[in-house]
Symmetry: C2
Subunit: 444 residues, 2 copies
């Protein structure tokens, strides 16, 4: 019968069998100390005359659980009050020698190495914890969405036309036809508003942008809500609720990990400040002297500055910016009836970066057809989408955010690739694509 | 302030404002009856001299909540004890005239029409309920997986090589390279076993099989678990637990819907009968006289017969079949050490059809390389996957199942396409692909 590391605390004096990986080995002559890891955590095991075992090997250890002397208790690990005296060590799968040192608290590797050895680097405690946080962000999103009455839906990723206009889409050979990977589930979730009224979904966003930045991925996990029968104020309330609850659930669940990442002072305030783009630009001008009041979008430095303002003046690491210029937003965005040059759109910023974006949508069939034509697109490509508007589409709106980006921001990671288990970008699908090309050529 | 239909029960005598869609209209001269639908359910509204409103239109209705006389209570709907006397009816979005009758209890349409008008047919009560059940199957899966200690992970759908061998993959133009849509997240979830030990995930499965059947989709939602440090018995226990709990959670949550679908006698037994393929074939031979004892797989009629046996003899609508011939299963399947011609593989059958499939995996690096070569594949294409096995891979195994298929079976749907919001197959991406081709040609 196997015991988990964490359960040894209740078994002092007993013999147990553990199964897991070897995280670290310290040889002191005849005596060997092993940092043993299983899904419940780390525990120290001590043995004499052990057979040689490489780091990361999968092992089965049988031994006696001993209380550690008070002054030897390791408070950094949950099972730090006990250790195992090894009676038997069985190597289930011997690892090769590691290509780099994994014993340090921080894995000090360049990004290409981190990704080239992804199956290995993910095993490092500090790296795997990123995805423990990510899991709770997702759970927080689902809990928040459900609590406002959303039904979970599953939408396709293969589409017959390029979803939202633009050329930055991946083309798929679909039997004898061309199809495309969706840039977002946007059009599908809107079609489902008259069915379920409120929906949430976890989907994929594929972006074929031929650029390499620290905050974009070619494939990412997207979280979405779409709500029928809401006006702009109700939509902003729902959006801020879901954004805030998603983050605060993850913060609640991961206090230790956040501390480990040096993230301690996150200000989550029930009152998220709301500014129009123009108001935000005015505040930035007053604070910094830099005049961006005629720009049609926030610059990255504007996002940072307005978040600094919200942190300092409004006790909030979130800030909502509304009313972006209509022509800057996607075709389905509702112009503000009061001033149609601006739109009923919004971004939610968190710690200096936009994490979530959305809008009230145009829900009139004929207006939609007109705007699609105006943008130089063919209504025929939106036939199924437009069908939904023909048969009664309520006033509605929604929003979406990327799982990897919010993970990156919460943990202050330098690059969004660190927040994706197997990131895809222009240059990499698991390995660098350029290396793949060379190999193929060599074979020929 | 908007009131949901279901909340009118607590507001008899009060004036309320409802927002939703018009499901049905019955005109009796001056008096009009409207079946009104919002996300909480259906309620009857009655008014005089109303403006004309088409079915499915989005409306706002203000009126007084009245108790219905005892003999007029509609027990089929949750708000059947009250009705609304309409004082004001505002049409928020007028629908076009419907192309078919949506007022009947069952939407009596051929599959092509059901799908050509998907945004409309999904609004029919009986159709949308399919996806209410689907949502709870997913929730049941997540609850069960979490309860056995799995971490939720997110794996990519774009891959550098065709995942599991075979040619039935969709090719993606990925910047200047060729990439593929994964047939399953199999290889990625295995790589994460040494990281999290137990993982679960919801992903996509893409199958470019050039065939049209009632139970396959080109894109489907796949649910997966993968567990480290388990032997075959423990794996079977976990698999049966997750399969059974997924279904029984949905059954618990949807008693009314299941009754509506004529599904009333589902036998969920904690003891799921386990048979090897050969044992199952022997039982089938004894029961039917049909001798399939030399076949290397279950025929569809065998699956139905052995499920009939389990239902009649073991009080269970589930049955587990193990030990399929090694050469019939994917390359990573562990052969049975006792008789390597058969493998440590299994299928879980439910109501006559396989819903879930999995195996103990080969966890030895060199054996994996050998079998990949033996199958005529190139180990270089599995470089990242094999990396995980080089650095200590525990004994492990896992399983996966399709969300749409299990939804179809639970509700006795005739075709898996009915269990997908927007099904993709060889002939259809929203609309029939052949029609798309013609239109493109016409334009030229």
């Amino acid at each position: 019968m196997r015991t988990l590391a964490i359960d040894t605390l209740q078994k002092t004096g007993e013999k147990v069998t553990l199964m897991g990986h070897v995280d670290n080995v310290r040889d002191h002559g005849k005596i060997t100390f092993i940092d043993f890891r299983d899904r419940s955590g780390i525990i120290q095991c001590v043995g004499q005359n052990l057979e040689k075992v490489n780091l990361q090997s999968a092992v089965e250890i049988s031994g006696i659980v001993n209380k550690r002397p008070e002054n030897m208790v390791n408070k950094n690990i949950a099972s730090g009050a006990v250790e195992i005296w090894i009676e038997d060590l069985k190597v289930l799968s011997q690892a090769d020698e590691l290509p780099f040192d994994m014993g340090k608290e921080v894995l000090d590797l360049q990004l290409p190495t981190l990704l080239d050895y992804r199956t290995l680097t993910l095993r490092h405690g500090k790296v795997s914890k990123i995805f423990k946080v990510q899991e709770t962000l997702m759970e927080g999103f689902r809990r928040a969405s459900k609590s406002i009455g959303c039904t979970e839906i599953f939408t396709p990723t293969i589409s017959a036309s390029s979803t939202e206009g633009g050329t930055e889409v991946f083309k798929v050979k679909y039997y004898d036809h061309d199809a495309f990977l969706v840039q977002s589930p946007q059009l599908y979730k809107q079609m489902l508003v008259p069915v379920f009224e409120r929906v949430y979904l976890v989907s994929r966003a594929y972006r074929a942008e031929p650029s390499v930045t620290t905050r974009h991925l070619s494939e990412s996990i997207q979280m979405d809500c779409e709500l029928g029968f809401v006006d702009f104020e109700e939509l902003l309330d729902a959006m801020e609720f879901v954004g805030r609850e998603t983050v605060s659930y993850a913060v609640e669940c991961n206090k230790e990990i956040l501390k480990d990442y040096g993230v301690e002072d996150i200000k989550i305030n029930k009152e998220i400040p709301r500014l129009t783009l123009r108001e935000a630009q005015k505040i930035i001008k007053e604070r910094t002297g830099i005049d961006h009041t005629n720009e049609i979008d926030m610059m990255p430095e504007d996002e940072r500055e307005i978040c600094k303002w919200a942190h300092e003046e409004r006790n909030s690491d979130f800030v909502t910016i509304t009313h972006f210029p209509t022509k800057k937003r996607a075709f389905y965005t509702m112009p503000d009836p009061v001033d149609p040059e601006y739109s009923l759109s919004f971004d939610l910023l968190f710690k200096g970066v936009e994490i979530l974006s959305g809008s009230q949508r145009i829900n009139d069939h004929n207006k939609l057809v007109a705007i699609i034509k105006e943008k130089g697109m063919d209504p025929e490509s939106f036939k199924m989408y437009l069908q939904a508007f023909k048969y009664g589409m309520p006033p509605e709106g929604g929003f979406s955010f990327g799982l990897e980006r919010i993970t990156m921001l919460l943990l202050n990671l330098a690059n969004v690739r660190e927040a994706s288990l197997f990131p895809r970008d222009m240059e990499r699908v698991d390995f660098r694509l350029s290396s793949k090309k060379k190999e193929t050529k060599k074979k020929k």
